[in-house]
Subunit: 285 residues, 2 copies
Amino acid sequence: MSESTLFCYVHPKIVPLNKASIPITDLALQRGYGLFDFLRVLEGVPLFLDKHLDRFFYSANELHMTPVESREEIRALIYELIKRNQASAAGIRLFLTGGDSPNGYLLGVPRLIILQQPLPELPKELITPGWTLVTYSYQRQLSHVKSIDYLMAVWLQPWLKEQGANEILYVDNGFIRENPRSNFFIVSADGKIVTPKDGVLHGVTRSNVLTIADRLGIEVEERDISLDELEFVSEAFISSSTKRVIPVRQIDSIQIGNGDPDYSVSRSIFEEFAVLEQEYIKSHQ
Amino acid sequence: MSESTLFCYVHPKIVPLNKASIPITDLALQRGYGLFDFLRVLEGVPLFLDKHLDRFFYSANELHMTPVESREEIRALIYELIKRNQASAAGIRLFLTGGDSPNGYLLGVPRLIILQQPLPELPKELITPGWTLVTYSYQRQLSHVKSIDYLMAVWLQPWLKEQGANEILYVDNGFIRENPRSNFFIVSADGKIVTPKDGVLHGVTRSNVLTIADRLGIEVEERDISLDELEFVSEAFISSSTKRVIPVRQIDSIQIGNGDPDYSVSRSIFEEFAVLEQEYIKSHQ
């Protein structure tokens, strides 16, 4: 799988990535209107595809868009791209844009785009030390939808670099929400896994983490987490399709737990995640 | 000027609109990252071009982007498009996108796009009766920047239709902000023009309205307007490059002034606006 020979799908056909384009009349450009999804391919299998397709169609419906392609057609296109790109490990991005707007404002016919790109595993030295987060006051709009709106996330990159932290943590009125591209969890002093429920994207990996917690017999609470609570938690971690589970060792000036990111709960979730993936791959090969 | 023969600019060249496209790797699609500007062409003259270019470069700077094209090159491109498209009355949209992102997240080299489209004058029967607005709780992100983020505006269109109103009015914590594509003004009981200063886009037409108020000797206040204040105002109107000045006769269930949108202050602003445009055209032909 090399960048130069990659194929992608831009409605209505599969094309080489270096020739893939959309008209400038598309509402994604004109008004930033579109939805996004991302999933990982491992050993040639698109992981948790049904969950991603569920969310894709949920987001589409919430954004008043009906894809031209059916669920089965999208599934087939993803498998076709994996085959053509000979990608055993990769990331797949799905987009559904507002389409060509007659007046640059009203919705056109939604345009499906599927893009596959190499996705190297995160190096261990990036994960093991645990991440540092900096809080930023922000509430994502239409937060239950995975839209293409990452204006704030991209805009904050120079600031994040200045702060010398690994990632941003959005906070709204003193309550923790999510990271720009991942969900946030704490392990409370009494050993429960807690993650925000409202005002956040319900990530597919978030849902997998909750499944794993259930398997491991760890109690889960989905509720608001105040910033004040952070001093008393024993662990914190973030989750996303790209990152799976990454421990967090510091948020602003607050050291999480005892400062050693080799957390027992986060680690057991991370290890069980690999098991869940392998189970999925075996049952879908 | 017909749609079929329109020319536009997509860095680095002028192309027919029906062949104008951007790569799917552009950050406008990938992350909704880009800026926008809109101006009107009348009698072949791009109106208040310097003010629009000022804002364009201000927005670019705020969004950490430096256009490849210089101010003078952008100006020349706009005049070239007006000439090629033989458009004496038109709308011009400028976009600067985040460009082709190496990883779908970090900024690439910004891509300039200039699009010209026919812009029919709003019919009198749409203006004369005055508009009805419905409030919606929302604060635009990076509100001082004219970004391509119109996610909420486009998303609310079906709701707006259900409400049977002409336009949405964004309100944040009881304070009026702006409309999705225009600025909002009231005329207070003691005859002052009041418009929000914070949390809104400082529109070019907004600035022209304030200039006109000054010419007409009307006192201006730039400050927050609470919803509670609406009951006591004598007039309300909105302004934008497309609409110039449109009187507002109702907001939610509140009738503005005496319910007759033939307001004396709004009308004098509207009439003076035509004078300002003609002055501009004469000094720029």
